[in-house]
């Protein structure tokens, strides 16, 4: 008898996705259209982008609960720049440039703050990032007074809904983020160090791995990714609502990471898996919706998926 388990382990997520797609071709009406693809991809973009940062954080054995709040901060701040509310900008393009660069830098800095807390005070990541989970959205709300900022700046909105080669621009952003992160994780020293820190922090430290710097960087990257995702969300909605941007994103991102096959205790991670995990969760939801199952039931199915994925992970790891 041939042992298929290593194969399943490696390609299980991928196989599940293919089966899901085949199932949809057979069952779901109007599945094989460009529009279906577009809808599913745009809904999954922000989750994947945040999930990439989350994957790196989880690979070091940490967790980042603040991603949704950081999205809100970036999203709420951005319009202040390109609408010239904060200070007059010479022209719209400069405004947009500032409105993209600054919020992402700010979000990265908050990520850095998470890492600093964790390093400096040896606070568990779940608690350290809980601080910004609670305070971060407040900061976004305070800075906008909780008001909805509606804008109509097509040049800015292009980052979400503009198309290149018929594919929404945000999908391109997602692809680039995934490729870079996958490359970094797999082929660079930093990638190995991330996994070493998650696999055995003390051993890594004694081998000269700059453990604190590695952690600082992954949380900053997670903040960076959250910043990008926050901008995409407001560009898509042509409005920034600090109360809603990225709400519950931490759970979606963690779910994608878990389903994708990254070890939640750290030390083993796959960026591609996170992409596939997010796609599976999205596609399951779409399948259910398209076949008349209410959205709420999809939540229950998602819960089952997470448990299944983690349980399978346990089985092979035991």
């Amino acid at each position: 008898m041939v042992d298929y388990s290593p194969l399943l382990r490696r390609y299980g997520v991928f196989i599940a996705l293919v089966l899901l797609i085949l199932f949809n071709f057979a069952v779901t009406p109007h599945f094989a259209t460009m529009q279906t693809l577009s809808v599913n991809l745009t809904q999954v973009c922000t989750i994947v982008i945040v999930g990439v940062g989350m994957t790196l954080v989880i690979a070091t054995g940490g967790i980042d609960l603040s991603v949704g709040a950081l999205m809100a901060i970036a999203g709420a701040m951005s319009p202040m720049f390109f609408t010239g509310e904060l200070f007059p900008v010479p022209n719209i393009y400069v405004g947009i440039a500032l409105g993209i660069v600054f919020p992402i830098i700010i979000a990265s800095f908050f990520g850095l703050f998470n890492g600093w807390l964790i390093n400096r005070f040896s606070i568990q990541p779940i608690i350290a990032t809980l601080v910004l989970f609670i305070a971060g959205r407040g900061i976004a709300q305070v800075s906008t007074n909780g008001d909805l900022q509606v804008f109509k700046v097509p040049e800015f909105q292009a980052i979400a809904i503009g198309r290149v080669l018929g594919v929404p621009f945000q999908v391109w952003i997602m692809v680039v983020v995934v490729i870079i992160a996958a490359f970094v994780l797999r082929r660079t020293v930093f990638g190995r160090q991330v996994l070493a820190v998650g696999g055995n922090e003390e051993a890594a430290r004694l081998s000269g791995v700059p453990v604190k710097r590695v952690k600082l960087i992954v949380y900053a990257v997670s903040g960076f990714c959250s910043g990008i995702a926050g901008l995409i969300v407001i560009a898509m909605n042509s409005a920034a609502d600090a109360n809603l941007i990225g709400l519950g994103m931490e759970l979606d991102a963690i779910a994608a990471v878990a389903v994708g096959g990254t070890l939640l205790t750290g030390g083993r991670a796959t960026i591609l898996g996170t992409l596939l995990g997010a796609l599976i969760i999205q596609l399951v939801r779409y399948t259910l919706l398209a076949n008349g199952v209410p959205d709420a039931a999809a939540l229950v199915v998602k819960a089952g998926l997470i448990i299944l994925a983690v349980w399978l992970q346990r089985q092979e790891h035991a």
């Binding site: 020293v189 190995r192 696999g199 051993a203 004694l206 081998s207």
Partner: protein, 508 residues
């Protein structure tokens, strides 16, 4: 227990092993790592089930489904690492699992505190039982563990290396406690690697090897040498002739000064440690457990901050801030706990081996995988690591091979000085010899080695010079023919000024 078999998967841990203990008897259970002692104990205390064989306890067939059941039926086990709850108070730690109650299921704290106090008084210990256990010393915690076992009206107490983290005085107290138990009619199974303790307290000895019981004898009828021979499975003459380690004999030219540590102090454990290592020299750092050997080594490597002292390395005064600094300067450190501080279990042999080297193996920020592979294959061959290939996960390797990977992790850096903390602990005899000759081989090529070991023979036969630590101070420096087991033990036990040592120590 008779004719016990136990297998894990295809691996047989015990085959036809037997063990017999009389009431009010202290039985020594000895054997190398992997001889089957732990498995035997775990079957006895209900943690494992036996595959074949039978156990009689107190005249009745014995089968415990869990440590809990075993405890209730009169068999208590005290493990190597203290298995109590540091945050909870002393009385609770004694009564957890069978708390005394008043009405309505509420706890009777007063009665428990009194009971705990009375129980500890039997062992002449007087302490505040309402303070968290973790506030007391290891020895006290060990006593509390024993008191807990006794309070279950144990007829048989199994002690699995209880003395491994105790100092000499504490060991003496523990041995007294064991005698006390015996006088109360309790039988004790005593597992220890320290022969002196066995002879001090045990009535009989059971020797195990490769899952079998190979010898049972009265303690007094078996000499130390016979005992070691039985454990190792070698002829007596063999042991006498070759010694137990694979370190080469003979003297060699010693190179220039490499590391000079002066008056190192670390926290409360190390107060004044001075020593030096020269090129191509193996320097032993000896001392009892708790004498500050590991702390000293870690401070040199900047794994922990030192509170005082100067370190000169390769002719320059240094003040490393982190292990990374030390590594950059040409140091390497193999920690004593492979699993916790050495391997990254989920990573491959290749990645583990090159973990420290990796930053130099890059082409434009990317890992030069061809180069990495070349180095890894080279070392797998040189160090003789038995694995299916560079890609195999390190956790799938045996302890000895894991240790070889960790050694290679440093050797591939081409370091000037390697600090080895218990390099052969928990490794089977074969791999042990290989690792020892490897260390020798690299030292011959000019590597300086600072070696910590609890095994006297490893220190005595392996080291060119030996520094002996006692209570956080270097109390003796032994050289050449001055290195002998007696000299080292004497320094460990009594301490001695460096000047006096050279006069007093008998040569040869």
């Amino acid at each position: 227990m008779s004719a016990i078999d136990k297998s894990f998967g295809s691996v047989s841990a015990l085959s036809a092993a037997h063990l017999e203990i009389m009431p009010a008897e202290v039985m020594a259970l000895v054997g190398q790592n992997g001889a089957g002692k732990s498995t035997m104990i775990k079957i006895l205390n209900g943690a494992f089930r036996l595959d074949r064989g039978s156990i009689q306890f107190d005249g009745k067939p014995w089968s415990a489904g869990s440590p809990q059941q075993a405890q209730r039926a009169g068999v208590s086990t005290i493990f190597q690492e203290i298995n109590l709850i540091a945050y909870r108070n002393v009385a609770e730690n004694i009564y957890l699992g069978r708390e005394l109650k008043r009405f309505a299921g509420l706890l009777d704290w007063e009665k428990m505190n009194q009971g705990a106090r009375a129980l500890l008084a039997r062992f002449s210990i007087d302490l505040d039982v309402t303070r968290p256990l973790g506030e007391y010393s290891t020895a006290i915690q060990q006593m509390v563990a024993i008191a807990r076992a006794v309070s279950f009206d144990a007829k048989l107490v199994i002690m699995d290396e209880p003395t491994s983290s105790l100092d000499e005085a504490e060991v003496a107290v523990l041995l007294n406690t064991i005698r006390q138990l015996r006088s109360e009619g309790v039988a004790v199974v005593f597992v220890s690697h320290k022969l002196d303790e066995l002879y001090a307290v045990c009535d009989r000895v059971t020797v195990m090897r490769d899952g079998r019981t190979v010898a049972v004898s009265k303690m007094a009828d078996m000499s130390k040498l016979q005992l070691v021979a039985a454990m190792l499975g070698r002829d007596l003459a063999d042991v006498r002739a070759s010694g137990a380690t694979a370190f080469g004999e003979g003297e060699k030219a010693i190179g220039e000064e490499l590391l000079v540590a002066k008056s190192i102090a670390v926290g409360r454990r190390v107060s004044d440690a001075s020593f030096d290592v020269r090129k191509g020299e193996i320097v032993g750092l000896a001392g009892l457990l708790g004498s500050g050997r590991t702390e000293t080594a870690r401070a040199i490597f900047a794994a922990d901050p030192k509170s005082k002292g100067d370190v000169r390395f390769a002719g320059k005064a240094t003040n490393f801030k982190s292990p990374a600094d030390a590594i950059a300067a040409g140091l390497g450190y193999c920690s004593e706990d492979r699993k916790v501080q050495g391997i990254v279990p989920d990573m491959s042999v290749a990645d583990n081996l090159t973990l420290a080297l990796l930053p130099t193996l890059t082409k434009m920020g990317m890992i030069d995988e061809a180069q990495q592979r070349k180095i890894v294959l080279q070392f797998i061959k040189d160090v003789d690591i038995k694995c299916s290939g560079p890609g195999q996960k390190i956790r799938e390797l045996s302890g000895g091979n894991q240790q070889k990977v960790l050694l290679a992790r440093w050797l591939c850096m081409d370091p000037k000085l390697l600090i080895l903390d218990e390099p052969t602990r928990g490794i089977d005899v074969g791999a042990k010899g290989e690792i020892q000759s490897l260390i020798q081989q690299f030292a011959d090529k000019g590597l300086g080695v600072l070696m910590i070991s609890s095994e006297l023979e490893e220190i005595v036969e392996g080291a060119d010079r030996v520094f002996v630590l006692r209570d956080g101070q270097v109390v003796a420096e032994l050289e050449h023919s001055g290195i002998s087991e007696q000299a080292v033990m004497r320094a460990m036990a009594h301490g001695a000024s460096k000047d006096a040592e050279f006069i007093e120590v008998p040569r040869g």
